[in-house]
């Protein structure tokens, strides 16, 4: 089966009315994955025996009407640990790593009855924008298999866009949920920093990382966020802020809401055809009763350099734990303990991960800290203040998610700087810790374009309200990708 013409609510009604069992749905899901994944390459590991047992248990107990995700098959990005199920972060250094606990988000999904069908591909340690940095396979864009799915949550995006599952978890440090969602024509939601627990998420850049969802519809994103949001005693950086019902404002009129459109987001480097789509989206929001006005976020162009210093510095520190001693790959033929560290890391990490460790170590090293790390952290403050000024007068910020549509596999992977510039429109959000989503905004030459909506801290509800209104005014969900052109 595929998931093109359904959603969580529809399946939930079929499951609770007895038209469909969780076991049947799961079997059909695995059949769909078996039929499509040889071409898409989204999955790294399937969870079939445990998932089958979970579906059977749900069928035996009956699915409750107040558990909308119960029996719904989902996929999990492979940098989120799963008890007893191999978790690799798409790195050779963790190729055989079997976690002994579940990440909090995985526990919450399990408690809600969602069924983890398997782990999906990513750029190694979530470092990349194309999923080509995976040590294991190259995932394909759902709309054109010769193109990248984006990254780093490329497996999550390709799985949802190809109709393999309705929801996949992703992580977003500089755009890693929103950019692949845009490239695949689906909904990607990065919640506010601290909104969702990161306990059990393999750390990349701890002041930026956040877990979120990739879905076909805005409502499915809201239903999923209802389950995964909230404070966690195990994650001191998770925020103790009440969790509303994120579906409550869906369907409500957006008349009177004020939306800001930053001039910098439509400027140099952004494909004019994408700019036209975003202007068209602005007109649609106006037709729906919102006010859309042009504003300025003057420090936008400094976001990429600030981000790559901050994220790489944090990564160089977080990845020190991979030393070949307690878990993960240990190199053979070593002469002493230092050799274990150096050879295990040098053989275990891929080129992009090494590049970021090098950049981060340099930025934090004696004599360079003030000029690089401290300067970047100050510029981060200025980028945050830009948003604060706009949000004093506006409810939401809108713009494109990406400067171009999905590029060809192999096109940018040898040129790190060009790849980094691709993140310019998504990175500022992470630096400021804001919630943001990418939602489908049409097509350019048959490839999807993403509209990015950015909200105030912890105001995912308004973000989803506007996203839902925009989705309802269009029929992009009716268009089905045919990747094998």
């Amino acid at each position: 089966m595929d998931y093109f013409n359904t959603d969580i609510q529809t399946l939930h009604e079929q499951l609770t009315s007895g038209q469909l069992t969780a076991t049947e749905l799961l079997e059909q899901t695995y059949a769909g994955i078996a039929a499509t994944d040889p071409a898409v390459d989204a999955f790294l590991t399937l969870n079939q025996p445990a998932a089958t047992a979970q579906a059977q248990a749900l069928d035996d107990a009956g699915i409750a009407v107040d558990q909308p995700l119960a029996g719904i098959p989902v996929a999990v990005k492979d940098n989120i640990v799963t008890d007893g199920l191999t978790t690799t972060a798409a790195s050779k250094i963790l190729a055989n790593f079997e976690p002994i606990y579940d990440a909090t988000v995985v526990t919450k999904l399990k408690q809600a009855g969602a069924i983890n069908v398997g782990k999906v591909n990513l750029d190694e340690f979530a470092m990349g924008s194309s999923t080509e940095n995976s040590a294991f396979k190259v995932t394909k864009n759902a709309w054109d298999h010769s193109r990248v799915p984006g990254g780093s949550s490329g497996g999550s995006a390709a799985a949802v866009a190809s109709g393999q599952v309705l929801m996949a978890l992703g992580t977003d440090t500089g755009g890693s949920i929103r950019q692949p969602a845009a490239f695949n024509g689906i909904v990607g939601l990065k919640p506010t920093y601290g909104r969702v627990s990161r306990w059990g998420v393999i750390a990349f850049a701890s002041s930026l990382d956040q877990v979120g969802t990739l879905t076909r519809s805005v409502r499915d994103a809201a239903l999923s966020l209802n389950v995964i949001a909230g404070h966690d005693d195990q994650d001191a950086t998770s925020a103790d802020v009440p969790v509303p019902d994120y579906t409550a404002k869906l369907g409500q009129s957006i008349a009177g809401l004020k939306v800001a459109l930053p001039a910098e987001y439509l400027g140099e480097g952004v494909d004019p055809a994408i700019v036209a789509k975003i202007q068209q989206a602005a007109d649609q929001l106006r037709d729906l009763g919102a006010t859309v006005e042009t504003v300025s976020l003057p420090h936008t162009k400094y976001a990429v350099p600030a981000y790559y210093i901050i994220a790489s510095s944090e990564a160089s520190s977080n990845l020190q734990r991979f030393d070949g001693i307690r878990y993960g790959f240990r190199a053979k033929d070593v002469r002493n303990l230092t050799d274990v560290y150096v050879k295990s890391r040098s053989e275990g990490f891929g080129p992009e991960v090494k590049r970021r460790i090098m950049l981060g170590t340099f930025s934090l090293s004696a004599g360079f800290y003030d000029a690089y790390f401290k300067k970047a952290a100050q510029v981060r403050t200025l980028i945050t203040r830009d948003f604060e000024q706009v949000f004093a007068d506006y409810d939401l910020v809108m713009g494109p998610t990406t400067p171009t549509t999905a590029f060809k596999i192999g096109d940018k992977v040898t040129d790190p700087l060009t790849m980094y510039m691709n993140d310019i429109l998504t990175i500022p959000v992470n630096l400021a810790g804001l919630p943001a989503a990418s939602i489908p905004a049409g097509f350019v030459d048959g490839l999807p374009v993403g509209l990015q909506l950015i909200g105030k801290h912890f105001d995912e509800a308004t973000l989803l309200q506007v996203a839902d209104a925009f989705e309802g005014a269009n029929d992009y969900l009716d268009q089905i990708p045919g990747g094998a052109h």
Binding site: V304, Y327, G328, L337, Y341, R355, Y420
Partner: protein, 98 residues
């Protein structure tokens, strides 16, 4: 302009090793990235505080309560080599000097 020697020094700090060819490639790439980063110098930041965390969390405190809920055997599940309940590692001194 970052030198090859500096890159080799950073590699040592990061516990990474590169072949001569890789070292040249990383030097060129890091130089290109740092040149892009140098545009930050044009931003006036006198008196601007650093941001290291975006949602204004203060120190988060909790009671210090001991938990004993992970089995020792489970903790050894991913250890490459062990002796009893100890993690086995190579000798700290060179093998040739054994």
């Amino acid at each position: 302009m970052i030198s090859k020697d500096s890159v080799a020094h950073v590699a040592e700090l990061a516990r990474l090793e590169f072949s001569e060819e890789e070292l040249q490639q990383y030097t060129a790439q890091l130089d290109e990235i740092l040149t892009m980063v140098d545009q930050l110098e044009t931003v006036e930041t006198t008196g601007v505080p650093v941001t290291t965390q975006s949602i204004h969390l203060q120190n988060v405190m909790r009671e210090d309560i001991a938990h004993n809920d992970t089995d020792t055997e489970a903790l050894f599940k991913n250890v490459p080599t062990r002796k009893g309940t100890l993690i086995q590692v190579p000798a700290i001194i060179d093998k040739e000097e054994d």
